[in-house]
Symmetry: C2
Subunit: 338 residues, 2 copies
């Protein structure tokens, strides 16, 4: 079975995004938020069947770990109340997708983070979503949207959410949202920078001594990390830390959202297959067809298929690691005899 660990609902019905716009307009004008619009099951079905489900089938995958559109989380907009409403609306929509396509999707939630706010609301929303059957969350290391005003992920500021994740046995994908800083293109710089930044924070800190069971997925193939693996091994050494395999890689996983063959080749060459989860971020950041291959850039399964992995290793990347990192997904699958 083939599980894509990284999919966002980028194709949600238009009313959902329109509501967000009117919610933010109301906030700016000091008015109460408008009521959330009616969206029919058929509209949701259509938005999924014509996009994620179609592509999943065409590409030969079975399931997606599915979360709200990352670039639209925009925790820097509005205030904590606005982020709370928006996160609930987005997560409830994911729950409806999962309800309509339970064989194909399992939910990962957006958190109601907000610059300067503590994580109380995020802890509560994570708990609510896990009760709805979600298997994890997306944690934004920069709720300021490119201003980078929050402390490093190893700071105690973040501990309440890590404690709740440990208690619920769910992982987080470390995933920023859009950037309000014009220097950072969202999907071309901010996303990749955040991945790199988070990994280096884990090296410099000692988070996993406090949370030995914590599991964090760094998306987009780990940002720049695998390409600079020698630099990170060397920096860990210079900082007097244990080797990365002990210090970080018991807790940190990378997805395969790397959109060309040489990148995937490198990823699998330097990172243990036990730390790699198949992912495509489809339908996502890069939607075109690569003129050099004639296939979608984000059809990452093709690159992995070309690696010539052993059957056991391929099973880890495509299924086993995801079931291990997201145990609630594993439980849900087992309950269905899969």
């Amino acid at each position: 079975m083939i599980i894509d660990c990284h999919g966002h609902y980028t194709t949600a019905p238009g009313q959902h995004d329109l509501w967000r716009k009117s919610q933010l307009a109301a906030f700016r004008e000091g008015r109460p938020s408008p009521g959330y619009p009616a969206i029919s099951d058929d509209e949701i079905r259509e938005s999924i069947e014509q996009n994620q489900l179609r592509l999943l089938r065409e590409r030969g995958a079975d399931m997606t770990i599915f979360s709200p559109r990352a670039s639209a989380m925009a925790h820097h907009e509005g205030d904590e109340g606005v982020s709370g409403q928006w996160a609930r609306a987005c997560n409830d929509l994911i729950a409806r997708v999962v309800g309509l396509f339970p064989e194909t999707f399992i939910g990962v939630c957006q958190l109601p983070q907000s610059p300067g706010a503590d994580l109380t609301a995020s802890v509560a929303e994570l708990e609510r979503c896990v009760q709805m059957g979600f298997a994890g969350c997306n944690l934004n290391p920069d709720p300021s949207g490119g201003r980078w005003t929050a402390p490093p992920l190893t700071d105690r500021y973040w501990y309440p959410i890590f404690e709740k994740m440990a208690e619920l046995d769910v992982p987080a994908m470390v995933h920023v949202s859009s950037s309000c800083n014009p220097v950072f293109h969202a999907t071309g710089a901010h996303y990749i920078n955040a991945d790199t930044t988070a990994f280096m924070q884990f090296i410099a800190g000692d988070l996993f001594a406090d949370f030995p069971e914590l599991r964090l997925v760094i998306p987009h193939g780990g940002g720049a990390v695998p390409y600079h693996w020698g630099r990170y091994r060397g920096l860990a050494d210079m900082l007097g830390k244990p080797p990365l395999g002990e210090h970080v890689m018991r807790n940190v996983f990378f997805d395969t959202c790397v959109y060309h063959q040489p990148g995937i080749d490198l990823l699998v060459e330097v990172i243990d297959v036990g730390n790699i989860l198949f992912g495509s971020e489809m339908v996502g950041a890069v939607r075109g067809i690569d003129p050099e291959t004639g296939h979608y850039f984000d059809d990452t399964k093709r690159y992995i298929d070309k690696l010539g992995l052993s059957e056991a290793d391929a099973a880890k990347v495509f299924e086993g690691n995801a079931r291990r990192v997201y145990p609630r997904l594993d439980q849900a699958l087992r309950a269905r005899g899969r």
Copy 2:
């Protein structure tokens, strides 16, 4: 001949760094800066012979394009006047190194950038340094040191320095300094993020339409870019830009500061050898010996030697590209019959 395009004077005599400390202390206390200390030729000679020169010889390279310590530029400290004094002191020290070892070093200057200040002082300092025989400059895309308050490099804010670079026919290496933002480890996150960020700015903008002859070196192997080359090709396409080879890669070059073999393999696989300049950033960010190889992480010549490049391609990476990107280096070498 083997030219290392990326070396910093990280081993300057202690008085130099002590002066910087007292300069900043004086600024904070509203006192005038102290006088710059006497540093003898012998002290400079020793600091170079025991470090860069020794390692250059041990590793089999001939020359280094040499600039002040990047992490110490710290444009976010003090004000424009402080940055001006500091840049002149650092550049004058580089000029002395070059004067003592003219066969081995050629200068690249630090600019007196300062958050919020325009580039008038930087233009003047570049001109002064080129008159002293320097071949280029280091341009900091984030003089705020991790707060990222300057506009993108494609913004007209930067045009005065690009105009002066074009007039003087010198390139810039895009190189940030230390980070005062605790989320960004300097050499593990801020450096690499800046490289990635700058490249994406060049894709999203149209800088090289205005400056067709401008040459910019993105260090540290281009940040995350080669690893995510498919993403960048795809994003250029989505943004309606020409292919990267036309749109960016006539003007942008990557060094080889990637500290393991698989990273260098990938770099040379995806990036045209005409765009790759040998560099090590020695003595720099990662100073240890890789336990997996028994050699220094930053002995990047070893990785390149193992690529099996043709003689013509190796000559480009080790010498020809550097002479083309830094024409004043080429002129200086020719004047010496090299």
